[in-house]
Amino acid sequence: MKELLTPRKLVVRIALAGIVLIVVMFVCSLIGAESVSLKAAFRGVGEHPAVNPDYEIFVKVRLPRIILAAIVGAALACSGVVFQVLLRNPLADPYILGISSGAGLGTIIAVLSGFNWTLWGRSPIAVFAFAGALGTVWLVWFIGRLTGKFHVTGLLLAGVVVNAFFSAVIMFLTSVAQSQQIHATIFWLMGNMTEEDFFVLWIGGGCVLAGILALFNISPQLNVLSFGEDDARNIGINTARIRTIAFAVAAFITAIAVSLSGLIGFVGLIVPHAVRLVLGPDHRQLLPLSGIIGAIFLVVADTLARIIVAPAQLPVGVVTAIVGGPFFLVLLVRHSRKVSWLK
């Protein structure tokens, strides 16, 4: 029997996880292809910039990238939690309703069109990916609605079919594209972490944080939803409203994550499950802790991606799957007997 979750326990756990996140980010920022000494990096800050490579690597390349990984990891993990409860399906992840193929389609269109502008510091690829992701989710949602109000199966099937259809369009465009353009797209589809402007990180991080807070707001209702539609309605919860909010917010933060860093798989699937397996399915705890642990996981995975084949680097999606998969299986075997929801 699991003990009840008290507010105090929740705050302590979130604080602990937050401290771990900060420590991990700090340690990872010291690891990289080039060894950087903090002392050298902050000697003579504010002087002529081009003379201190330690400073530039640490502050302008590595730090933004680590912050980006944390933002994206948190967004994907939280949105994974929400999709799993909304669709009542343990296989659900942030990409299940077509976000990935929609964003992929946006990307390849941006690459093929050869646009060369920036919108608030974002490249056409990021803008098109964001638009493609949200557009596709809206389309799936719309089709799902036509099959009946919040008919989970209808929604899922619509997602699968739209995914397949857009994938086919992506394949077609790939087959007519020039090989060098395909290269750019493929790296993006495997997850592409680069350093970003601090302003972009600030706004992106703000959006994701706001999204997670909004989801946290409705986490008690999400708990009730996980018992089933009818039960939730009987208790007097406006399930349609909660579902719409949760769905829109989760899709929004996923689209932000995707436009920042391409498609990074696995985080949104295994982190929520891992947290649920170890700490239980209460969403008030599951959401914030998944966010923080998702951030830790992606920061570590990205650091590995940076150093394993240095001086080259791996796509981070490869690392998340290779590191995350076995780790998750161990958790699954060790904890699944204790947790009732799997039965």
């Binding site: 990289g32 690597i57 353009q181 750019a184 707001n217």
Partner: protein, 301 residues
């Protein structure tokens, strides 16, 4: 409802704080560092750029190359800054360059722009045609105060190519199928530098104009285009003999293609023909040798 109000206030506050703390305009306009009069620490992001730098006698000033820069041999001893497709920006910065030269591919252009935002000078060069190669040599020459050497290099290459063409003559061009990849079959189309090299070597691309630069083709087109010579650049530098054997085996199924009938399927060393660089003449000569072996045998005697 109160919670949602607080959340909206928080978002507004956050955005405002961001605008206040981070100087957005300054982040956007950081790339105004003037280029140095003479680049002394150069990073090359592509193997053919490395070859150009070496050919201009800039060996001493190169501080970083990509992993695939293997010619001249001295290039392999230079500091590595990632691969062509996956450049490592940390390694580039650690090399303390005052000029980073990249090609115009998306991946490379992206690196150049990122470096520019941090405050490093970069030079993006498109080298996809022979004329662009000569232009690029001149531009690099100008950036490194080696104009004289650049002119000389271009002059030298064109002179050798002219001589080669004079030797071969331009009448009755040999029809060549240039195979980039066997399974699935992909060949070099008209809009490629390979096509230019084939023509400089006195040949003619057997494949007509296509949508792709390197079109995937079917068996039907192979037979229809009736190539007199089939050339495959060696993919595996270590085992060209193995590829030659497998090539003969593969092409044997096209029994009515002249190149196969006359046993004129060649596997040639890939380096000089897969990069457009200062070894353009050497590459073209290798191709010419495949197109008219009898001519070169006579010359050797």
């Amino acid at each position: 409802m109160k919670k949602w109000l607080w959340l909206s206030v928080l978002i507004v506050f956050w955005t405002g704080a961001g605008l206040a703390i981070i100087d957005f305009q300054q982040e956007q306009n950081r790339n105004d560092t003037p280029p140095p009069a003479q680049a002394d620490r150069i990073v090359s992001m592509a193997p053919n750029l490395t070859e150009i730098l070496f050919a201009l006698g800039l060996e001493e000033r190169i501080v970083g190359v990509t992993l695939d820069s293997d010619y001249p041999p001295a290039a392999t001893k230079k500091l590595k800054v990632g691969t062509f497709w996956q450049p490592n920006i940390e390694a580039v910065i650690a090399a303390k360059p005052d000029l980073v030269i990249t090609l115009g591919f998306d991946q490379q252009r992206n690196l150049a722009e990122r470096l520019k935002r941090i405050g490093y000078n970069s030079l993006i060069l498109n080298i996809e045609k022979v004329s662009e190669l000569f232009e690029a040599i001149q531009i690099i020459g100008a950036a490194t105060i080696k104009q004289h050497e650049a002119n000389e290099l271009v002059h030298d290459i064109t002179k050798k190519l002219d001589k080669l063409l004079a030797l071969i003559g331009t009448n009755d061009r040999v029809r060549v199928l240039w195979v980039v990849q066997r399974e699935p079959l992909r060949v070099a189309g008209r809009d490629t530098f390979i096509n230019e090299m084939i023509e400089l070597a006195g040949g003619q691309n057997a494949i007509g104009p296509t949508l792709h630069k390197y079109p995937p083709i079917g068996a039907e087109q192979v037979i229809a285009c009736q190539p007199e010579v089939i050339i495959e650049p060696a993919m595996n530098q270590a085992d060209p003999a193995g590829q030659q054997a497998s090539a003969l085996q593969y092409w044997n199924k096209f029994r009515n293609v002249p190149a196969v009938v006359n046993k004129r399927v060649y596997v040639i060393s890939g380096d000089t023909v897969s990069r457009l660089g200062p070894r353009l003449y050497e590459g073209t000569k290798t191709i010419a040798r495949c197109l008219r072996p009898e001519l070169f045998e006579k010359l050797a005697q």
